[in-house]
Symmetry: C2
Subunit: 119 residues, 2 copies
């Protein structure tokens, strides 16, 4: 049986350095250049997939069909940090029994969710 | 310092069961329903992020701005399996020093890459 596993997640970017700097500021780690023009952010905690930032000529269109869900232990502080790093809030928030989810976007508008469970 | 980490990856779907069944066939594991109408695929090898399949009303538009890169030890067999599971090839393939990357799509056309390193 062939083994297939998740290896990396690639985000298309107009400005690779800008987007990689944002994600490194949020997740930790130091981006490096695996191929000319690309940047890669290793999994800071090890084990998880790496993030690739790939230069593309086309601008973002419509809502991202695939998005990342990040987990934080302090939703308020993390949303502030996202904004300080050049990201933005979308105004969308869902509260449910277990916790809350806030929809955010990186500096190029790529949407992601920040999840916090009730402690 | 607040800790933020990658928790899940969410794929928007018109037909949640169809898409989740495809990804489970490729990665292993058994999808379960964490919320009504959603399906979730736990990380079979543990540690990595889970995949969520979220029902959305809108069809896919344009190329996915965020995509998954999977790693296989047998590119030919894996591409055949993708097609057998209802996915498709896009015809795009890149060969480079370390190995090869083939661009594929799931049953709803969400693009992903299959990477194989030279052994």
């Amino acid at each position: 049986m062939v083994k297939v596993r998740l290896h990396e997640i690639t985000i298309d970017c107009a400005d690779v350095l800008r987007v990689a700097t944002f994600w490194a500021g949020l997740l930790g780690g130091e981006p490096y250049e695996p191929m000319p023009g690309w940047l890669r952010l290793g999994s800071p905690s090890g084990g998880g997939p790496m993030l690739n930032f790939q230069p593309v000529p086309e601008p973002k269109q419509g809502k991202a069909r695939v998005h990342l869900d990040l987990l934080t232990d302090d939703l308020h502080a993390t949303v502030s940090r996202v904004v300080a790093l050049g990201g933005r809030t979308t105004g969308e928030r869902h509260d449910y029994g277990e916790g809350a989810v806030v929809v955010l976007a990186d500096p190029e508008g790529t949407e992601f969710c920040m999840v916090a469970y009730r402690s």
